[in-house]
């Protein structure tokens, strides 16, 4: 119970900060903080699929795109006069993205490894091309006039909710099933784990959260362009997951924040020479991490594993899952 309370307290804290934040931080910094939050949701949602369940997906931006566009459609039509129902919009768009996650995963999951990667990449691109060809969504021109409903409060409510979901899930019997599939699919199914079902669950939850990230993204920028959700967006999520450690939520959070900040730090230099330096850096990071520290920053560890002795022991007695 006390642990649940901690999460609720985190939420209360988010809203207190939300009401006060404009006194302290200038809008530019705030926008970075908000993007970091959106990236946290996006990266951790992919980590559930790739890091915990071991299904390498390269089309994650597609689910984000669906969440973004569906929510933009909803909030400019049905919910246009009810901005206070924003959370319903977020939830619904997440659900639609989850449905797409199911549709994409169902056929793809017969494949493994590289093939799965390339098929998900294909699905991601197909989603983008289809959006590009729907005129009512603005096509290549993009979609404008989305109400700017994403505030610090909403984004970080999303972050807390997503982290709560993933944290609880990955440290439960459900999480063990995810990990079992990652470790050895054949052994897992021989031990009674319905592997296809488990992988589907991971995809659906991952897609749901990516959709949530997308809808928050759409309502923060209030402008959408299919080009935003191209291959590079998917790669960005992969980099965050890989850098932080496949199978570490804390790692993804750190990596998401780190990369968001780095990107902003590089912006002046980038404007000067007109080249996307961020991607060069990202790709170099990716190669170096893979060669020098293949398990990423934190490996499969969580922040809790780095907390000093006594609280760790208490937690260990309660649910020993991850300790090495």
């Amino acid at each position: 119970m006390s642990r649940l309370l901690a999460w609720v307290l985190a939420l209360v804290f988010v809203w207190i900060v939300n009401n006060q934040i404009h006194h302290f931080i200038d809008p530019y910094i705030l926008s970075i903080v908000i993007f970091a939050g959106i990236n946290i949701i996006f990266a951790t949602s992919l980590n559930l699929i790739s890091g915990f369940t071991g299904q390498f997906s390269m089309g994650h931006a597609g689910f984000m795109a669906i969440g973004a566009y569906v929510s933009a459609l909803l909030s400019t039509s049905f919910f246009a006069s009810f901005p206070q129902l924003f959370f319903v919009v977020i939830f619904l768009s997440g659900c639609i993205a989850a449905v797409f996650g199911y549709i994409v995963a169902l056929p793809s999951l017969r494949l493994r490894g590289d093939y799965l990667a390339i098929v998900t990449l294909g699905f991601g691109e197909i989603i983008r091309v289809i959006i590009l060809n729907i005129n009512s969504l603005g096509g290549a021109r993009g979609m404008t006039d989305i109400p700017p409903l994403s505030s610090f409060g909403w984004v970080y409510t999303g972050v807390v909710a997503a982290l709560f979901m993933l944290w609880r899930l990955t440290r439960s019997s459900q999480g063990r099933a995810f990990l079992a599939v990652r470790e050895d699919e054949i052994a897992a199914s021989s031990m009674g784990v319905p592997t296809t079902h488990v992988k589907l669950q991971a995809f659906v939850i991952g897609a749901f959260l990516a959709g949530v990230a997308g809808s928050l993204f759409a309502h923060y920028l209030s402008y959408l362009n299919p080009q935003t959700f191209d291959l590079n967006k998917s790669f960005e999520a992969i980099i965050m997951v890989v850098l932080g450690g496949m199978g570490s939520i804390s790692g993804s959070v750190i990596a998401a924040v780190f990369l968001t900040v780095i990107r902003e730090l590089l912006r002046p230099l980038q404007d000067m020479i007109g080249i996307d330096l961020r991607m060069i850096l990202y790709s170099l990071l990716l190669i170096l991490v893979m060669i020098l520290r293949p398990k990423g920053l934190l490996g499969t560890k969580e922040w809790i594993d780095f907390v000093p002795r006594w609280p760790k022991k208490v937690l260990r007695q309660r649910r020993p899952l991850h300790e090495g």
Partner: protein, 300 residues
Amino acid sequence: MTEFIQHLINGLSVGSMYALIAIGYTLVFGVLQLINFAHGEIFMLGAFVGMYSALFFGFGQTSSLLGLFLVLTLSMLVCAGVGYVIERFAYRPLRKAPRINVLITAVGVSMFLQFTGQLFFGSDPKFFPQIYSPAGYWSVGSVQLNPLQFFVLGISLCLMMALHRLVFHTRMGRAMRAVSFNHDLASLMGIPTNRVISYTFMVGSALAGAAGVLVGLTYPKIEPLMGVMPGLKAFVAVVLGGVGSILGAVVGSLILGLAEEFVVGYWAPTYRDALSFGILILILLIKPRGLFGKIQIEKV
């Protein structure tokens, strides 16, 4: 009818470009079981090397066959070198690592080449010099045929034939096939696997480089991101034909090129990129081994 023949020729010409790239994919996949995502970027590099060398030697002004062959050779050599470097420094350290790590590295190398390409070549499209441009059109009835397209088709056919000879009639080719059959066994038989893998990368990369120059000739607008889509589509072609089979790669590429050309020509131009991925998904679901692929059974 005129239109149909034109599409047919275009499709074959695009398909043969895909084939040159796809062969590299399939060779590398054969020896390393790795989708070398950076392969499309090597194709891009080939085009740029071709452009810069043509400009350097001043081949752009007049149409010269000798110039073209010089540029082609140079770009193949440079690409082979780049292929070697990539394999040596990005993939070889990961020989014992899980496959997913190698795959991620490949994605990283691909992105690195794309964006450093932008840094060096500039992100706006460049005009590829007309090194060789045969004059006039061949008219067959009402159909006008561009001789350049046939010329390019011919060169790529020659390259494919050379490759076939190399893989099936040389010592190195035999070693390559042995390595792709089984790494450990091959090295136990005294085959220097690392060298064979390097060699395979170089051959594949050289073909991609040639494809870069040939594409530059036919579609003279080149840019640093031009390799992404052809790279992915060549992979689709590989899967379509059956991973690991050279014949499959060629046939798959031609089918894909034709399918694209006809869909674009007759139906929905904006769905060009979605089409190939659609084909990929269908193939993987219906016949995951492709047209010419071998049966694989997972050992338990």
